[in-house]
Amino acid sequence: MTDSPSTAASSRRLDPVAILAALAVVAAYARAIWFTPPERVQGFAQKILYVHAPAAWVAFLAFGLTALAGAGWLFLKDERLDRFAESSAEVGVVFTTAVLVTGPLWGRPIWGTWWTWDARLTLTLFLWFVYVGYLVLRGAIDGRESRARASAVLGILGALLIPFIHLSVYLFRTLHPMPVVARPEGPTMPPVMLKTFFLCFFAFTLLYVALVRARVAYAADRDAVEDAARG
């Protein structure tokens, strides 16, 4: 697939999805901070979850779509799929980093510890390792096709790895009783919080779409410039 100059030019204009995403994020967090009452037991620390949980959702979504796009590329060899995989993985790493940073910030006051080797925490950490490796791998291969090929393979194997890490960490925890920590679920959420929560999920998903669109536009420009330079 070759890119017409119009796609390169359009990427410089502000993407309407990006504007919408920014508005949604601002609205969601205005509501989360000022118009949603703090949780009775956890206090203001609970508000971190309005970032943490939607970011985790976006991270899993991003990596799932990366694996799917990679598998699709192996069959269709369409460059757009590879550019999408590249973009989605990069955005996914950013959101996973946000999950790994906000998690301990919440865990310290609520669980009394920055980190615990809980199944979900460990899984997120390894997901982060796999996809940072994915980005390093992409950076180390020059040929566009061999890059797409190798990263598609890594994306697929990464998706296969997730159940195994989950299983082994789960076994590790159940065979080794650990000090009992507060479960993250807590009491069921009151509707006012739930609404804010969904708004944050929606805003983050929109943000994901906007960031991936911007990143894909960049990748398309870069490839177009590369093609033009090669003549």
Binding site: L74, F126, F129, V130, V132, G133, V136, L137, A140, I141, D142, G143, E145, S146, R149, A150, A152, V153, L154, I156, L157, L160, L161, F164, I165, L167, S168, V169, L171, F172, L175
Partner: protein
């Protein structure tokens, strides 16, 4: 190509790799010395009055195997870099699955060879009561080695085609080693502590499932990692 033909070709490729290794012995000796050194260094990295050597041993064993294994894995595609040997192998009328299987078998022999020397050395240095646990322990070693080698061979092939080469292999492979090393180390610890075999069964099941899924998956995706 039929399944027996695939295996026969794979065995020929494995024999070629092992013949190269046997004549130079460079990678095998360095992996062996590395694992012996690691066993010795780990002993002094802990306070032996606080933590008994038998408690340390399973962790030492698996960290050592993981890292010494990487040394041999990288070499498996490194030998093909010279004189365009890899291109010759790709041009040869050989299915690419057979190339993977052959490389993996040679790597398995390599890793098991290192283990065959370093496990007795560990038992000796750490004064381990291996005794009756020897047979189940060998089973754990083989099951884990199969998983490590399947993943390692695939990523060694991927890493060999990149600018970073040997730097990239641990970054790619180590996250995938976690569901192998964790069950293997846990099972080893229980076996060395003289616990009943039933306590390790859950871990062995994870190892077997990992081996089945990833041996198959790596063989299927390997042809896609090579340029046409």
């Amino acid at each position: 190509m039929s399944a027996p033909g695939l295996v026969a070709t794979a065995l020929r490729i494995a024999r070629k790799d092992l013949a190269i290794e046997f004549r130079t012995r460079s990678a095998f000796l360095s992996a062996l010395v590395l694992s012996l050194l690691a066993i010795v260094i780990f002993y002094f990295a802990w306070d032996p009055t606080a933590v008994g050597p038998a408690v340390l041993a399973p962790g030492v064993l698996w960290v050592t195997f993981t890292f010494s294994g990487l040394l041999g894995l990288h070499r498996s595609f490194g030998v093909e870099a010279e004189d365009g040997a890899m291109d010759a192998l790709l041009v040869a009328p050989v299915p690419r699955e057979a190339i993977f299987l052959g490389k993996a078998l040679a790597n398995l022999a390599f890793v098991l060879g290192v283990q065959a020397v370093s496990l007795p050395a560990l038992a000796l240095f750490y004064n381990l009561p291996v005794g009756s646990a020897a047979v189940p322990l060998a089973a754990v070693l083989v099951l884990a080695a199969v998983g490590l080698v399947a993943i390692g061979t695939l990523f060694a092939g991927v890493a060999a085609n990149t600018r970073l080469a040997e730097l990239l292999l641990p970054v790619l492979a180590l996250p995938f080693f976690v569901p192998v090393v964790m069950p293997a180390a846990q099972a080893t610890a229980r076996l060395l502590a003289g616990r009943p075999l039933a306590e390790t069964m859950d871990w062995l099941r994870v190892l077997i499932a990992f081996d089945l899924v990833f041996c198959w998956a790596c063989m299927v995706v390997f042809p896609h990692t090579l340029d046409d």
